[in-house]
């Protein structure tokens, strides 16, 4: 092992190198060492049967710290909906094509269905539930209401989070730009005209 990795605590599925060495010392040597060594992911190359273990992750969600221990397969979308009881972000296609799951992570709009929750260590996540200040709606929420920017409402949380991201990014100068830069959000009710009006109102405010 090269010197650069010595003494560093590695995030290896919950067991750091330092903790691991401590465990090894506790158990002792001999036959028990081999299976223990195999659990030290990333330290010993050549082992191809390491188990998948849950991972603990802490992220800020709508301003509050949340610590979760999760199966590594859980997406950010499923963590929000199923573990944190925040069902505002919607599951549409679950493949990044419809935009219903759009949330803001560290201020940028992303598809939460294509993002692993365990990748969110230290991230700041904002969902539709976190946009309003108490009873005061976020300007984009108010504009969607005013302009009737929805019909069934299923895509709306994703549309609003995406629109908030679009305004912050600042690249949309024309109606055509807004349409293009909202193309990651599909509305099967076809409220696009009113969504456009809502976004323009917030942009011009």
């Amino acid at each position: 092992m090269d010197n650069s990795s010595e003494g560093k605590d590695r995030p290896t599925g919950g067991t750091t190198r330092r903790q691991f060495l401590g465990q090894v010392g506790f158990v002792g040597a001999g036959l028990q060492l081999a299976p223990l060594l195999s659990k030290a992911t990333g330290i010993l190359p050549g082992n191809d049967a390491l188990p998948a273990e849950p991972v603990t992750v802490t992220m800020m969600v709508n301003g509050s710290p949340k610590t979760l221990t999760l199966d590594t397969r859980v997406t950010l979308l499923d963590a929000l909906r199923e573990k944190l009881a925040m069902p505002g972000s919607k599951k549409g296609c679950d493949h990044g094509q419809c935009g219903a799951c759009t949330v803001l992570v560290d201020g940028r709009r992303i598809n939460s269905c294509l993002h692993l929750a365990v990748m969110c260590e230290g991230s700041e996540v904002t969902t539709i539930e976190g946009l309003a200040k108490g009873e005061e709606l976020h300007p984009m929420q108010a504009a969607f209401l005013k302009h009737d920017g929805f019909q069934c409402g299923y895509c709306t949380p994703g549309q609003i989070c995406s629109a908030v991201g679009l305004v912050k990014e600042g690249h949309a100068k024309t109606d055509a730009d807004i349409r293009e830069l909202m193309s990651g959000n599909i509305c099967r009710c076809g409220a696009y005209q009113n969504i456009l009006a809502a976004i323009k109102e917030v942009q011009n405010a």
């Binding site: 390491l50 199966d71 709009r109 992303i110 991201g165 830069l181």
Partner: protein, 327 residues
């Protein structure tokens, strides 16, 4: 999705070491990887999260080139003022791909590594030599409207889906990688592989090799460059055909040209034949059409995609005409 072990790498060496074991895959943006994992098409036993690595810089090089960190997001690269000014073809290509959300996630290195969207690759109900080597290609005899006409083999006719890569092919990018045995630089043309008899092998990276950055060498006339993408709907759709074009026109004569095509090839398709037809010739419609004919001379259409041959020619002619207008 199959279970996998999750490792968060803190530095390049940790990432490279963790990638060498457990059939590992790196994850950066994850937009294509997770999509495929949900369908059990990718089933890595270990995922190595590389997002903590320091590969986020876009560095202007003194000679006029640029060095792009592997983790630079597609959106950050597309809107970078230096890229917009000096390599507009790259910015336009990036902005024509995917959606704003996906561009906020997808990285430079990940875009290079994305896999084909051929529907037969995506559906485990059909045979696919990329997905299950030796099982057969359902696209050759199936509905192949979106498939390739250049670089195909009797094992695979899938198109490479990237727009960014078409621009990088035209610009002659160099891909820098690091592995347990050291670092190396791979010319863009050598990075992606033709399907041949082994379509499951799509690039020449080794299991433990990490893309660290992509270098775009200086190309003064790239300020006059353009990416044109033709597709079934106006946005958020893969290319039927596309063209990345840079031209150096002096006194009505073409002194330099860079041409690459998308949507038609099994890999990002640099056309040296088209460049040869352009360089030294007068900048006019006749020359552009001759270049387009040269670019598609080797095209082999299938049942449903013969239209792509003429469409690709017209796409290239239109892109060349647009760049001529910039001069």
């Amino acid at each position: 999705m199959e279970p996998f072990r999750f490792v968060k790498a803190q530095d390049n060496l940790t990432a490279i070491r963790a990638a060498g074991i457990n059939q590992a895959k790196f994850i950066a943006g994850g937009t294509n990887m997770l999509d495929l994992m949900k369908l059990n098409i990718e089933t890595p036993k270990q995922i190595v999260d590389i997002n903590k690595l320091s590969l986020y810089k876009i560095e202007e090089l003194q000679n006029g080139g640029v060095r792009i960190g592997a983790l630079v997001k597609n959106s950050d690269l597309a809107y970078n003022p230096y890229i917009i000014k000096n390599f507009p073809v790259l910015s336009e290509a990036l902005l024509s791909g995917a959606s704003p959300q996906l561009r906020n996630m997808a990285t430079t290195g990940g875009n290079l590594m994305q896999r084909t969207r051929c529907p037969y690759f995506y559906s485990t109900d059909f045979t696919c030599n990329k997905r299950v080597p030796g099982s057969g290609c359902a696209a050759i005899t199936g509905y192949n409207r979106m498939n390739a006409v250049l670089g195909t083999s009797d094992k695979c006719i899938a198109t490479h889906p990237s727009d960014m890569c078409v621009a990088m092919a035209a610009l002659g990018a160099i891909i820098h990688v690091q592995g347990q045995k050291g670092a190396r630089a791979i010319p863009f043309a050598d990075f992606h592989l033709l399907p041949g008899q082994t379509p499951q092998i799509e690039h020449n990276l080794k299991q433990d090799e990490l893309i660290t950055h992509v270098e775009i060498p200086a190309l003064s006339f790239a300020t006059k460059s353009h990416y044109l993408k033709v597709r079934d709907r106006a946005s958020y759709e893969f290319a039927l055909t596309s063209a990345a074009v840079a031209l150096d026109i002096q006194g009505g004569t073409i002194k330099g040209a860079r041409i690459a095509l998308g949507g038609v090839g099994t890999k990002p398709w640099r056309s040296l034949e088209a460049e040869k037809a352009l360089i030294g010739a007068p900048a006019n419609a006749q020359t552009y059409r001759a270049a387009a004919e040269a670019a598609l001379a080797a095209a082999k259409p299938y049942t449903n995609n013969a239209f792509k041959v003429e469409l690709a020619k017209r796409t290239l002619v239109r892109a060349l005409t647009t760049v001529e207008g910039m001069s």
